[in-house]
């Protein structure tokens, strides 16, 4: 059965009619499939949630143990049946390579296979399982960085930039804006892989999710809370990771001679860095850049591509030019800045 007959964009997000499940709904619903734990995809308050074990743990860390009435964990590669038992929708999770626990969701109904990839990337990331290309009729992709200007450099290069700056300005505290979930832990591992084994200092908002990653077997090395440092002048020449909102906050005033950095895919656009008064932009993204999006779609070679949020115009144009059948879903509510 044609996919658009049983899977449609609604005000609350993408809705599977045949299963009565929403995927990453943006307001409270009865049944939700969650691709990953970023706040704009994983809300609290749904009745019934299906997600990977780490995603459930992330949601419980954020929204409490009662983040949903019933919770069902699904491992990568395992399947469940949803909807009418006599006419079921089969649901399988596959790794998306975006953050810890991030999943692509394969929905299969009456012989049609649809992959909802959520947010995903193709660059190596030691904090999560790598993206798997799944054969399907419809591939649903994000388009956050879908413009040919976006080229994400390897994370090592950006971490080196940070270490270089640290050597150049040893008197300055390097305050790096990173999103607490995913980017933070990936940056830490990026720095560790370059042999940086000093303690890395955390803003309070980063702590719980770092602990959660460590609980899932990801060793982040020595982390110290800024709050536990009584003499803040000790932070000169050190790296402090904080949420982007804290960069210009009063909180940062206690730090010595702050050099503001930020790790985000948007940092490639100078004006974006400037808008946040960032002195050291680090281009680190947990999404695909333009080339990675095209390579992925080419590799999967689906019958059709549906585009969710981001720069859908450009991707739609490019795919149409290549003769790939594509449409934009115009889903709203996914905050393009919140998670990268």
């Amino acid at each position: 059965m044609q996919a658009d007959k049983w899977l449609q964009p609604r005000d609350n997000g993408l809705y599977c009619i045949a299963a009565d499940y929403y995927i990453d709904p943006t307001s409270e619903v009865a049944n939700a499939l969650i691709t990953h734990g970023h706040a704009d995809h994983a809300m609290g308050g749904h009745h019934n949630v299906v997600a990977t074990v780490p995603t459930i743990a992330i949601m419980q860390t954020r929204y409490g143990e009662e983040m949903a009435q019933t919770v069902q964990a699904l491992d990568y590669g395992a399947s469940i049946k949803l909807g009418d038992p006599d006419d079921p929708v089969s649901c399988t999770f596959y790794p998306a390579g975006h953050i810890l626990g991030s999943a692509q969701i394969l929905l299969s109904y009456r012989g049609t296979r649809v992959v909802i990839s959520g947010d995903y990337k193709r660059q190596p990331d030691p904090t999560c399982s790598p993206f798997e290309a799944i054969d399907c009729d419809v591939f649903i992709t994000e388009a956050t960085f879908a413009l040919p200007v976006f080229k994400h450099p390897p994370i090592e290069q950006e971490c080196e930039k940070l270490l270089h700056s640290l050597a150049l300005f040893p008197e300055r505290c390097h305050l790096v804006g990173v999103y607490a979930l995913g980017k933070c832990q990936r940056m830490i591992l990026g720095l560790r892989s370059l042999g940086y084994h000093q303690p890395i200092y955390l803003h309070g908002a980063q702590r719980r999710l770092c602990d959660l990653y460590q609980d899932h077997g990801i060793d982040l090395g020595q982390l110290t809370d800024v709050a536990d440092v009584s003499d803040k002048s000790e932070l000169a020449g050190q790296i402090v990771l904080a949420p982007p909102s804290a960069l210009s906050d009063r909180w940062s005033r206690s730090l010595p001679e702050v050099r503001k950095a930020m790790a985000s895919g948007w940092m490639q656009i100078r004006a974006r860095a400037h808008q946040r008064q960032v002195e050291l932009p680090l281009v680190v993204s947990d999404h695909c850049d333009w080339q990675a999006l095209l390579t992925t779609i080419n590799e999967i070679n689906p019958g059709e591509v549906w585009i969710t949020h981001g720069r859908e115009d450009a991707l739609l144009h490019q795919l149409t030019t290549q003769g790939v059948k594509a449409r934009a879903l115009s889903l709203i509510g996914y905050d393009e800045d919140a998670t990268d």
Partner: protein, 523 residues
């Protein structure tokens, strides 16, 4: 070139002015002539190329990328140099780059075709950051958060001389500024510029603070009209003559009628206007002459340009900027009587001797369509380049207001890149909205975010980079004046429209009509 590229990157991402000054002074101290002089030229906007232009770059890019993707990328990034820097196909090997002066020389020597080849050669062998720096050179206006004035201030700090001395010399010198550095570094005397036909930096005014007119001691102030033209400077020396805009651009070719018949030496400050036998025409009339590089004879006859003169900086060969305004005014009157130029007329002094008369003069000026308000200048003020405080004030007519409906939105550039920040608004006429103007200022950063979000949620169509939006949001726009205009479908044009308030609460149907708008025209 690489050192210069690194300097630009650092300047761009540094927000503190002191830090910027330190970076630039470090560069000047550690870079040899002529590279550093060309860097100064690039930063201060005095570097020009004949064939290395924005359009040449764009065309080369379009040979390498789908035009629609280019347009979408440019729309998103908001700046040509950066768009091209990212879009240009990467090659694996970076090339050895020449010094800045050498590179600039190559571009200046090259003809149109050779410039293209040079661009392809360098762009293909550079990193994205270097590409950005190279393209910035060619497109003028580096926009790294350092104004031409700041560059001069930093040069003054570098040489420990007063910035006014740099200002005075500046327009008589040219890149790579060897004689300037020789002087700043104590190896030579200050360059002698007597008699050179050169722009002198102008003195600017502040807006008169609200409710301060009644507290002025009127006898200390010279009161004149504020004209609705453009500020210009006429320079006549034994070596030649020229007309400059207030930013120092030579606009002599556009206004040969202003220069003709003036041979009396001096530097004259005044307002450029269309003047028919002593009668001043509207700004609209002047607009037909602006941006015409070489106007046709017919246009010159129909719209003859002239000047209302109000200050004298150099009398003959003598610099008189240190004299008081009252003394300069006497010199100006005498200069004008010697010049005998019919198209130059003196800005009359308004006979005001007390605060009540001052208020009345302001009220009269506000009702006069030919002027924008009053100028108040301290009689004892010397002529100081820049905007010294407490010396000159402009007292403009109160802004007028209309409730208009947002119709289209476009993304901004520079620091507003990616935000929808340029808005076209309209008023009602026969149950449809007619656009009457565009505004991109007057809102706070917080409001800009809300507006941007509103546009994204309420877009109904697109025309290239322009988004059409639902006709639902009312803004109270403020503007200096409204004039009849045949160039706009609505038949009116606004002077300096900006947002006054966003009326999230007001239904679009209650916005103003074209009839309301036309009623505000002062005749």
């Amino acid at each position: 070139m690489d050192a210069f590229s690194q300097l630009l990157q650092q300047l761009y991402f540094t927000s503190s002015n002191n830090e910027k000054s330190r970076l630039l002074r470090y560069y000047l101290a550690n870079t040899a002539d002529p590279d550093r002089g060309w860097a100064i030229a690039a930063l201060a906007g005095t570097l020009k190329f004949e064939f290395f232009k924005r359009n040449a770059v764009k065309n080369l890019m379009l040979e390498r990328v789908d035009p629609d993707l280019f347009a979408m990328s440019y729309d998103y990034v908001g700046e040509m140099s950066e768009t091209v820097a990212h879009l240009w196909p990467d090659t694996t090997s970076n090339i050895e780059l020449p010094g800045l002066a050498d590179l600039i020389d190559q571009f200046r020597q090259a003809n149109r075709e050779q410039v293209k080849a040079l661009l392809v050669h360098y762009l293909s062998g550079m990193t994205a950051e270097q590409r950005w720096s190279l393209l910035k050179l060619g497109t003028r206006g580096l926009r790294v958060g350092l104004s031409a004035r700041s560059v001069k201030r930093i040069l003054a700090e570098y040489g420990q001389v007063p910035v006014s001395e740099i200002e005075t010399l500046w327009h008589a010198l040219s890149p790579p500024y060897r004689e300037l550095f020789d002087w700043l570094e104590g190896r030579a005397d200050k360059p002698d510029i007597t008699g050179a036909v050169t722009f002198h930096p102008v003195m600017l005014s502040h807006p008169l603070p609200d409710n301060s007119a009644e507290r002025l001691t009127v006898s200390d102030w010279q009161v004149e009209y504020k004209y609705d033209g453009i500020r210009v400077q006429l320079v006549v020396t034994e070596q030649g003559k020229a007309l400059y805009s207030r930013t120092g651009d030579d606009i002599s070719e556009s206004f040969p009628d202003v220069l003709s018949g003036v041979d009396e030496c001096g530097v004259i400050d005044g307002e450029l206007l269309i003047i028919h036998d002593g009668e001043i025409d509207s700004f609209n009339a002047l607009q037909q002459r602006l941006n015409r590089k070489k106007p046709a004879k017919k246009l010159i006859t129909q719209k003859p340009a002239g000047m209302v003169v109000y200050d004298l900086l150099t009398d003959g060969n003598q610099d008189i900027t240190a004299l008081s305004l009252t003394e300069r005014r006497q010199r100006l009157e005498y200069w004008l009587s010697r010049a005998e130029a019919r198209h130059l007329q003196l800005s009359p002094l308004l006979p005001v001797s007390n605060n009540k008369q001052l208020q009345q003069a302001y009220t009269d000026a506000a009702a006069d369509p030919g002027v924008e308000g009053l100028m108040l200048k301290r009689k004892d003020s010397s002529y100081q380049p820049g905007r010294p405080s407490g010396q000159w004030f402009k007292w403009k007519r109160e802004a007028q207001h209309l409730d208009a409906v947002i119709m289209y939105a476009q993304r901004g550039h520079g620091k507003r890149s990616s935000f929808y920040s340029d808005f076209t608004f309209g008023v009602w006429h026969d149950n449809t909205l007619l656009p009457i103007g565009k505004a991109y200022s007057g809102f706070t950063d917080e409001e800009l975010k809300k507006l941007d979000n509103w546009v994204r949620r309420n877009a109904v169509g697109r025309f290239g980079p322009v988004r059409e939006v639902k006709k639902e949001l009312v803004v109270e726009v403020a503007f200096d004046a409204i004039h009849p205009s045949s160039r706009h479908k609505s038949g009116v044009a606004l002077r300096f429209p900006r947002f006054h308030r966003i009326r999230w609460d007001k239904p679009a149907s209650e916005a103003d009509t074209l009839t309301n708008a036309k009623a505000l025209i002062i005749t």
